[in-house]
């Protein structure tokens, strides 16, 4: 929590010029909604795409498209080079050691299902324990629930503290159990904004031989990520949450672990030879990429990484922090409003509730004012249960949001509380 005195030391108190410049890259930000300018504060659900990425995709389809890997002709060569070039861009973007560690999937959910099945499905035994944090998105719960049912493994939950941070004491205690084989935690919580100490957690787990599965879906757009310095065994994220396309995601995995794993899906390109009696798997990363991959989407993701790299990410992070704190100062002026998730380390999003007003009503009324927020459980039902609330309203910011947009949000919220006659 920041006091106003601390606030004044923040990097930005007004929307800086570079943000106004960046906004021009995003055509959708000029949209009107019910004759009001769109205020898009639903970036945690999906981010918007800059023209640079759109143009890369269109150019690919207009000049280079063909299937990859299998062709000797020029277009297929070009497509393959663009596709593998995108892999190299992503490798560099997350600091992986080798392109063999970078698997293209269709999204975070697909990535985690791959790990749960191809690692968990083959290594978990009856009575083994999977530790899952209480603040996980369903994407990092359901695949484990399914594999636990199949293998007889047991899921145990690492609790959250009242401020929305992970209970690290409990975690320390829980990993002493030798039955613990896998630990699943998100780098950043989509429901609370909390940035988890994943490097610390991975180091603890590494000591005990526990495999770490880090859900980075909410992390990659807000700050640079380096999987090696985090020390994760697996790290998953999605294109559409980092200004890239839908239909694409990444599973980073440590090469020595990936090597020993069976494939998740079967099909073309993931095999070296096929007969009805015997099949030989291909090398990394192709073993995990069955069939025609999401070629255009991978290339789009590479362009999104280029775009993020072209920003001054340190400055952008500072700006997002300022937005976050500005939003907090303003939000608490709304009668009956309570922020859920008060971690000192948060990305630029606030989940909140207002006494006596259901989030769904808030969402609809805000929508009428042109303000797009998400309301509901944010695919994190256990978090809602933990805090004893049915749902929250979530305003999630990106670097292209402005101080003025926060003012619009807060103004609209005041209309809500006035309508519902909420007083302090």
């Amino acid at each position: 929590m920041q006091t106003t005195a601390e606030l004044s030391t923040l990097a930005f108190t007004n929307t800086p010029g570079f943000v106004r410049e960046y906004r021009k890259d995003f055509p959708i930000l000029d949209r009107m909604v019910y004759e009001k300018p769109l205020v898009f504060l639903d970036n945690a659900a999906s981010t918007q795409m800059p023209s640079q990425v759109m143009e890369t995709i269109t150019a690919y389809h207009s000049f280079h498209h063909a299937n990859v890997h299998r062709g000797v002709h020029q277009l297929s060569q070009e497509a393959s080079e663009l596709y593998e070039g995108a892999r190299e861009k992503i490798r560099a973007f997350i600091g992986a050691s080798s392109e063999r560690e970078v698997i293209f999937t269709s999204g975070t959910t697909d990535s985690i299902n791959l790990v749960a099945n191809s690692y968990g499905g083959y290594n978990l035994k009856q009575g083994d324990v999977i530790l899952i944090s209480e603040m996980e998105h369903h994407a990092n719960i359901v695949p484990w629930y399914m594999v636990a049912r199949r293998t007889g493994a047991i899921i145990k939950v690492i609790p959250i503290l009242d401020d929305g941070t992970l209970d690290m004491n409990a975690l320390h205690e829980m990993i002493r159990d030798e039955k613990v084989k896998i630990l699943c935690v998100n780098h950043v919580s989509n429901a609370l904004g909390t940035i988890n100490p994943v490097a610390e957690i991975c180091a603890l787990c590494r000591e005990k031989g526990i495999i770490t599965v880090i859900d980075g879906a909410q992390a990659v757009s807000h700050d640079s990520v380096d999987v090696k310095s985090i020390g994760a065994d697996f790290y998953a994220f999605s294109g559409h949450k980092m200004h890239g396309p839908t239909g694409i995601g990444i599973l980073y995995g440590r090469e020595d672990i990936l090597k020993g794993m069976e494939p998740f899906k079967g099909g073309g390109d993931m095999i070296l030879s096929v007969s009805f009696e015997h099949i030989e798997w291909n090398e990394l990363p192709f073993k995990f990429e069955a069939g025609t991959p999401p070629i255009a989407q991978a290339i789009g993701l590479g362009a999104a990484a280029d775009y993020l790299n072209s920003l001054d990410r340190v400055e952008v992070k500072k700006y997002e922090d300022s937005l976050l704190h500005y939003a907090e100062e303003k939000l608490i002026t709304v009668p009956g409003l309570r922020i859920v998730g008060k971690a000192a380390n948060k990305v630029s999003l606030h989940s909140f509730v207002i006494d006596g007003v259901h989030p769904h009503d808030i969402g609809s009324i805000l929508d009428g004012e042109g303000v797009a927020v998400r309301t509901g459980q944010h695919c994190a039902e256990p978090v809602m249960k933990r805090f004893g609330i049915p749902a929250t309203t979530r305003a999630s910011m990106s670097f292209y949001n402005t101080f003025e947009e926060i003012d619009e949000l807060v103004l609209a919220l005041h209309k809500v509380t006035e309508l519902f006659n909420v007083t302090k």
């Binding site: 259901h358 989030p359 009503d361 609809s364 929508d367 009428g368 509901g376 209309k415």
Partner: protein, 152 residues
């Protein structure tokens, strides 16, 4: 402060009132029909209890649940409207309400919908149609002896 028209049309005084003070908000002592309604999208949940007498008239009705203002007010107003009515009439009201909510008919076309027309505004908010109709779908399920329904 000035509110957008769509919001104003929907969040009328009567809806806000029923949201705050829902009528028939309890489980009746005796009931013959029961169903649970669930709208996972916004987390609306509803238990609906009905007592039909021998003439198939709704003698008692009550609900308990949690949800947005639209779903709560809709349940509350529904209970006041269907009480004392024959189930054939209730089913006709359900059809009428549903058609009004999705914009197939205008409330003014059907005098029976008079007390329900406050919900006509949902037709402009497609995401909220399910909130408004949840109680009615649950009622329909109770009458058809389906115990759990979901409007997702």
């Amino acid at each position: 402060m000035l509110l957008n028209n769509r919001s104003k049309n929907l969040y009328q005084e009567v809806i806000l009132d029923h949201n705050k003070n829902p009528r028939n908000y309890s489980q009746p002592e005796r009931f013959s029909h029961f169903a649970k309604g669930n709208n996972p999208l916004c987390g609306d949940k509803l238990d609906l209890f009905l007592l039909l007498n021998d003439e198939k008239i709704v003698e008692e009705i009550g609900f308990i649940g949690d949800g947005c203002a639209i779903s709560k007010a809709s349940a509350s107003i529904m209970t006041t409207v269907v009480k004392g009515k024959h189930i054939d009439e209730v089913r006709k009201l359900f059809d009428g309400f549903h058609n009004m909510a999705v914009g197939n008919i205008s409330a003014s076309e059907d005098p029976a919908l008079r007390r329900l027309r406050v919900f006509e505004g949902v037709k402009d908010l497609p995401a909220r149609v399910k909130c408004a109709t949840l109680a009615w779908h649950t009622l329909d399920a109770a009458l058809n002896n389906k115990e759990i329904i979901s409007t997702e």
